[in-house]
C-alpha cells in the first residue's frame, strides 16, 4: 500500500510540497479500484525492532501509454528509494521487475522523464542503457494547465 508520507518526501526533494493535491483516498480510488489508472511496485524491508513488521523504503508508479507505430508502452511516472536505503541495489531490482512487467505486457519500451540538470539521475539511467530522446531527437514536453484548458474550452 502506498504510504502518503513517502510521496511527500519525494515532493520535498523537488521542493514542491504545496503542489501535491492528492490524498491517500484519491490514490486508493484511482489505483486499487475496478479500472486502475496506475500501478505500483513497492520495496519493503523488515525492521530489526519488530521482526514481523515491514517498512516501505521505495516505490515505482507506472501505467501504460500508446504509440500508434509501436503499440503499448510502459510509462514510469514515479521512481523513488528513500535516502537511507540507496546504494543497496533496490532501485536496480525495481527496474528489473518493471522491465519484466513491460515485456510480459507486450510493451517494447519503457519511458519516463528526467530533469536534465539532475546529473546523478541522468548517469544512473544512461549507465543502464537508456536513451535521452529529447537530446537525440529534439523532443520538447509542453503542458497546458487548468486555466488554459478553461480558456480554450470556453471559446467554443
Amino acid at each position: 500500500m502506498l504510504q502518503n508520507h513517502q510521496h511527500l518526501e519525494l515532493a520535498a526533494c523537488e521542493n514542491m510540497v504545496d503542489a501535491v493535491k492528492l490524498t491517500a483516498n484519491d490514490l486508493l480510488r484511482d489505483g486499487f479500484g475496478e479500472n486502475p489508472l496506475f500501478y505500483c511496485l513497492i520495496a519493503e524491508v523488515h525492521t530489526h525492532q519488530k521482526p514481523t513488521s515491514k517498512v516501505t523504503v521505495g516505490f515505482a508508479m507506472y501505467y501504460f501509454t500508446y504509440d500508434p507505430w509501436i503499440g503499448r508502452l510502459l510509462y514510469l511516472e514515479d521512481f523513488y528509494v528513500i535516502q537511507a536505503y540507496r546504494g543497496l541495489g533496490i532501485g536496480a531490482e525495481m527496474l528489473k521487475r518493471l522491465s519484466q512487467i513491460a515485456i510480459r505486457s507486450q510493451c517494447s519500451c519503457m519511458h519516463f522523464l528526467v530533469v536534465i540538470w539532475n546529473q546523478a539521475s541522468i548517469d544512473y539511467y544512461t549507465r543502464r542503457g537508456a536513451l535521452d530522446l529529447s537530446s537525440e531527437e529534439g523532443w520538447h514536453l509542453f503542458r497546458f494547465n487548468r486555466g488554459e484548458l478553461m480558456d480554450m474550452a470556453g471559446e467554443e
Binding site: 517494447s108 519500451c109 497546458f144
Partner: protein
C-alpha cells in the same frame, strides 16, 4: 470553405487515421522507423487497440463537411490521438500523443479546434492539465501551443524524455 467538424473517431475511420499517421511520421522525418510491410499489422492493431472493450487510446478526427449542393462526401483531414495518464501530484491527466492536419488544410484553425476539443474532453473527465511533445525544429507547432497558453517544460524546467528499449530493456529484465 465548407464547415469543419471535430468528432470522436469511429472504427470506420481507421483507414483514414492510419493514412494520416503515416503522413505525420514522414513529416517528423521518423518514418524510416516503420516498414511499409508492417502497415497491415499496424492497421489491425490500431483497430483492436482503439475500438475494443478497454481502449488503449482515444482519437478525434477533423472532418470537412461539404457545403449544401457540393457533390463530394465528408473528408477526414486531421486527427488527434490521446490517452489518459496519471500524476501522483494531480491525478488523472491527458497526453496528446499525435496531432496532425494535412498540409493543404493548414492555416484555417483546424489544429486549434482539435486542441480545444481535447481541452473540453480533459475538463469533462476531471483532468486538470494536458501534455504533449513537439520537435524542437517545429517552430510553427511550438508557436501555436504557446499562443494557446502552453508552457515548454523542457526549456523551463529541464524535463527530458528517456526511453529503455530493445536490448537495453531485455538486459534490465535479466534476459
Amino acid at each position: 470553405m465548407a464547415s469543419v467538424l471535430i468528432r470522436e473517431a469511429k472504427e470506420g475511420d481507421c483507414g483514414n487515421i492510419l493514412r494520416l499517421i503515416r503522413e505525420l511520421a514522414e513529416y517528423e522525418k521518423l518514418s524510416d522507423q516503420v516498414k511499409i510491410s508492417e502497415e497491415a499489422l499496424i492497421s489491425a492493431a490500431l483497430r483492436a487497440d482503439g475500438f475494443g472493450e478497454n481502449p488503449f487510446y482515444h482519437c478525434l478526427v477533423a472532418e470537412i463537411l461539404p457545403a449544401p449542393g457540393e457533390p463530394q462526401g465528408p473528408c477526414v483531414v486531421g486527427y488527434g490521438l490521446y490517452y489518459f495518464i496519471y500524476s501522483t501530484w494531480k491525478g488523472r491527466n491527458i497526453y496528446l500523443e499525435d496531432i496532425y492536419v494535412k498540409p493543404e488544410y493548414r492555416g484555417h484553425g483546424i489544429g486549434s479546434k482539435i486542441i480545444k476539443k481535447v481541452a473540453e474532453v480533459a475538463l469533462d473527465k476531471g483532468c486538470s492539465q494536458f501534455r504533449l511533445s513537439v520537435l524542437d525544429w517545429n517552430k510553427r507547432a511550438m508557436d501555436l501551443y504557446k499562443a494557446l497558453g502552453a508552457q515548454d517544460l523542457t526549456e523551463a524546467e529541464g524535463w527530458h524524455s528517456f526511453r529503455f528499449e530493445g536490448e537495453a530493456m531485455r538486459e534490465l529484465a535479466g534476459k
